[in-house]
């Protein structure tokens, strides 16, 4: 049952082979058993989860069920959920019980899905290893010495370790795709603006995008069908006609032109990753696709551009955490400035502080033009590179990460090395393009490897088709660490 896909469980629930209450209880039990080892969840609330499960069973009995009704889904602790502790992985919000639902949570609730718990994450989504979480690191289910990736590390671990049928993540520079790759699961960051950011605690507003993480592309399609939709409460939400992301899953890939950016197949990628990616591309050629070399000349600038813009926005977004209205406030302080200073010094971890400092610096008088404005200009050039590339190909592929999962503690003392984990992924956030990762094998120490698939704007259905056809032909996505 724990290995079943979302689609299979959905069929079983609809056929009343199992009730959501039973399913939810089973998952809760498994979480209770295994979470102390993995630390994938920050909050589990059996009462709230089971209440949703019972409601789902009623929906099913009343014949009002959709594909997600009754399915236990783990929610990243960045999404505000009414009545749930919502910490964003930070001491700052370690006492914050949200009085409202995020747009994404509302959509899952309306679909009858069960929130099985809130997953661990890097503090305020700032990190690539889940080690910056106030609630401690998460283990990679494939190798407990390895990081699960981040920032959606708890989500990736929960799906890989079969603690939830699927999970939500958010992706600002690779936070869905990198942990998906490192944990051997599938994850997609949709086009910016498709998934509501309302109630999704902001890290970098112009880059943040929520998306699903699951065992297969087919499951991702079902999840996207629920997660995507206009939300008037988010001014950057796109008003588009609804589409069925599963509609193209069965299309053959004959004639598909896959672009391979030479900049992503250069030094920096380890041999085990290179060979797994090459094998995956061979498989695509067998499926009828052709590969063409393309160039994204400005792609190597994505990391420096990202590390100007993301901290700039973050430094401002995190100003609201001041200890005045909610969240952590220092116990003793001498005056207002001291209250701010102590509350924020105590409430934020070192990585968050580092990014607030970087962001404050690049927005400062006299530096703004040199950093922020220049980075925005480069961002436009990077987007232009992709637009040019799509003249020659339909979809772009490469490695999701340069190496397999590194060891816990290996990079936590070296921020630059840590930042380079997102070397292939951050461009999709800067351009707003959809991108996903699917498992394509194992490398060093038998740790998973992800294939990065970048699509043009709104090409999610095509990307899922491309991923699904590969998953029909291969078995990597069905491999389980447990």
């Amino acid at each position: 049952m724990f290995n079943a896909s979302l689609k299979q469980l959905s069929i079983q629930l609809a056929g009343k082979k199992i009730s959501s209450t039973e399913l939810t209880s089973e998952f809760l039990q498994r979480i209770q058993q295994l979470n102390p080892e993995y630390n994938a969840f920050i909050t589990v609330n059996e009462e709230l989860s089971l209440a949703q499960a019972r409601a789902a069973d009623q929906m099913i009995a009343a014949g009002q069920a959709g594909p997600l009704t009754g399915i236990p889904i783990a929610q990243k602790d960045i999404f505000c959920a009414k009545g749930w502790l919502t910490t964003c992985g930070s001491k700052m919000l370690s006492n914050f019980v949200s009085p409202y639902d995020a747009g994404v949570i509302e959509r899952f609730n309306q679909a009858g899905a069960v929130n099985i718990g809130k997953t661990n994450m890097d503090e305020f989504a700032m990190g690539s290893s889940n080690e910056t979480s106030y609630y401690g690191p998460v283990k990679n289910p494939w190798d407990h010495a390895a990081v699960p990736g981040g920032s959606s590390g708890g989500a990736a671990c929960a799906v890989a370790a079969r603690l939830a049928c699927a999970a939500t993540g958010t992706d600002t520079g690779g936070s869905i795709r990198q942990p998906a790759a490192l944990c051997g699961i599938s994850g997609i960051k949709p086009t910016y603006g498709l998934v509501s950011r309302y109630g999704m605690i902001a890290f970098a507003s112009s880059l943040d995008q929520g998306g699903p993480m699951a065992k297969s592309a087919e499951d991702l399609a079902l999840l996207l069908n629920v997660m995507v939709g206009f939300d008037a409460r988010d001014s950057t939400s796109l008003q588009r006609e609804a589409e069925d992301y599963a509609r193209d899953l069965q299309k053959p890939l004959t004639g598909l032109r896959i672009g391979l950016p030479k900049e992503y197949f250069a030094a920096g990628m380890s041999n085990d990753v290179a060979s797994a990616i090459e094998k995956a591309l061979d498989e695509y050629r067998k499926l009828g696709a052709q590969t063409v070399e393309i160039s994204l000349p400005n792609a190597p600038l994505a990391i420096p551009v990202y590390y100007v813009l993301a901290p700039a926005e973050a430094s401002s977004n995190l100003s609201r955490f001041d200890g005045v209205r909610y969240g952590h406030r220092a116990e003793s302080y001498s005056d207002l400035a001291d209250m701010y200073r102590k509350s924020r010094a105590q409430g934020f971890g070192p990585e968050v502080k580092r990014r607030i400092l970087i962001g404050t610096y690049v927005l400062s008088h006299g530096y703004y033009d040199a950093y922020y404005i220049k980075a925005q200009k480069l961002r436009r050039l990077i987007a232009q590179d992709f637009a040019d590339a799509y003249q020659q190909c339909d979809i772009i592929m490469g490695p999701t990460t340069p190496t397999v999962a590194f060891n816990l503690g290996e990079k936590s003392g070296d921020p630059i090395q840590m930042y380079l984990s997102d070397i292939y992924t951050s461009a999709a956030n800067l351009t707003g393009m959809p991108a996903m990762s699917i498992p394509v094998g194992f490398g060093d120490k038998n740790r998973p490897i992800g294939l990065h698939i970048i699509g043009n704007y709104f090409k999610e259905a095509q990307m899922l088709n491309v991923a699904h056809q590969y998953q029909l032909a291969t078995d990597w996505h069905n491999q389980s660490p447990v």
């Binding site: 949200s98 999704m200 927005l363």
Partner: protein, 479 residues
């Protein structure tokens, strides 16, 4: 040395939208603390702003009223600083590309018109309120006001005296009320002024170092604060000192300004475009739509009153001080087009006087335009004298006899005697009874004439038409 005062004003006009600029919470004044603060106003984690179209529309309205350029796109930016009544740790404002750029306002000063140039007007959200009393060593925060839409209207340093600054502020105040974008209530903080004041030797070009005086919430304080501040700066300079650029507060009780913060401890606000709000495209058709819905503006009405009714520029300015006054005047004059000056005099005199005395607005005036017109008609057709009209007006004001002018005239017996033969009869009686005065008059004592008129008026209990009395008496005496 002769000094010249240079003043620029920043006015925060609270826009009259029902809901806040980035949330759906109410903007109504005076609710219990924090009852009008939504999750967005409280800046809970994850919430996002959505721009209130009505606020943008009001800004456009203002821009069109002052002949400004409307920027499209217009961009919202974050102004970052920490304060407990600023929930997000930044204020959403505009930096580059405000909705309104440029424009002018004409003010009347010493009987002449002067043009004040505007730099810009931008939209922004108000902060909440810190309450320092009643909390025993702690402060309270009321976020009802947080997110209230403001239009910050920034002038060029075009004013040269506190009188000009006040005239500008009053004209602006009238304008924002006129076009219906702000209720102008200064006690409730709907219209607040900051004044930038500097001085320079008369005849020189270079601007002196300026000080900004914050939060002047009455025209009187504006005037007094500028006068005090200019005196202070001149004294320092005449003593050989230098002005320090700073922000100052005006203390109305002591009638002085004092340092609030110096340039050195000024914040670096780290403005950058708000990534939660997209650039606002203001289409030509939207601007056209707003333009077509604009009322006739004060300046246009002033010009029309002079041209159409032959009023003086002064009268026209007084009548257009508020849209309600101007509308009142128009409603009256519509019924007495030939008597515009009479209408103007009554509104500027009796009506305004009584309104001021009782502290009520013309929109609540107990004498309606139709009633005043009825009264003025009876003066015009000679039914009553100007003096009797004052009595009728008082009765109208007090709501007597259903405010029916003719009924009041009849009931009070105020109708003039305008019948020549009736007046002649009385004139003859008075001449007969006052031989001495008649003789005096004929001997060249003009005063005796007035005495005779007085006798006649007394005999008619003041009801005789004075013009007729004068004419008949003169005719009889001179014949």
């Amino acid at each position: 040395m002769q000094w010249e005062i240079v003043i620029g004003l920043e006015v925060h006009a609270q826009l009259s939208t029902h809901s806040k600029i980035f949330s759906g919470a109410s903007t109504a004044y005076g609710a219990p603390p924090n009852t009008q603060a939504s999750v967005i106003d409280l800046a809970l984690p994850g919430v996002l702003p959505v721009l209130n179209k009505g606020a943008v529309e009001r800004a456009i309205k203002f821009g069109l009223s002052v002949g400004a350029k409307i920027n499209s796109p217009s961009i919202f930016a974050r102004k970052n600083y920490f304060y407990p009544d600023l929930p997000k740790g930044y204020q959403i404002s505009q930096y580059e590309l405000p909705v309104v750029q440029g424009g002018t306002i004409a003010i009347q000063i010493d009987g002449a018109e002067k043009t004040i140039h505007l730099t810009r007007a931008h939209l922004e959200e108000d902060a909440g309120k810190s309450l320092h009393e009643d909390f025993h060593g702690m402060s309270g925060i009321d976020l009802n006001r947080a997110g209230t839409p403001l239009l910050e209207i920034v002038s060029e340093p075009d004013m040269r005296s506190s009188a000009e600054a006040v005239a500008y502020a009053k004209t602006l105040h009238a304008l924002v009320r006129w076009i219906g974008i702000c209720d102008g209530n200064m006690q409730e903080g709907s219209f607040r002024c900051d004044a930038n004041v500097s001085v320079r030797p008369r005849g020189t070009e270079k601007l002196g170092t300026r000080c900004e005086i914050k939060n002047l919430n009455s025209f009187r304080f504006l005037e007094k604060a500028i006068d005090y501040e200019a005196r202070r700066q001149i004294e320092i300079l005449e003593d050989g000192g230098a002005i320090r650029q700073e922000t100052r507060l005006y203390d109305a009780n002591k009638d002085e300004t004092r340092t609030m913060r110096t340039k050195e401890d000024a914040n670096d606000y780290r403005y950058f475009p708000d990534p939660d709000l997209l650039p606002v495209e203001i289409s030509a058709s939207w601007i056209e739509q707003v333009k077509s819905a604009l009322p006739e503006l004060p300046q246009a009405r002033r010009d029309r009153y002079v041209a159409e009714f032959g009023l003086s520029a002064y009268d026209a300015a007084v009548l257009t001080a508020s849209r309600e006054t101007a509308d009142y005047f128009e409603a009256v004059v519509k019924q007495l087009p030939a008597q515009a000056k009479l209408c103007a005099n009554w509104i500027m005199g009796d009506i305004n006087g009584q309104l001021n005395k009782e502290g009520i607005d013309i929109s609540a005036c107990p004498v309606k335009p139709s009633q005043l017109a009825a009264l003025l008609t009876r003066i015009g057709d000679g039914t009553i004298s100007g003096k009797a009209a004052k009595t009728v007006f008082e009765s109208l004001w007090n709501g007597e006899l259903d405010k029916n002018v003719d009924a009041i005239i009849a009931a009070k017996g105020l109708k003039q005697i305008s019948d020549d033969s009736a007046i002649e009869k009385i004139v003859d009686q008075v001449i007969a009874a006052n031989a001495q005065q008649v003789a005096d008059y004929r001997a060249g004592k003009e005063k005796a004439f007035n005495s005779l008129v007085g006798q006649i008026m007394k005999a008619t209990q003041g009801k005789a038409n004075p013009a007729q009395v004068n004419a008949i008496l003169k005719k009889k005496l001179d014949s």
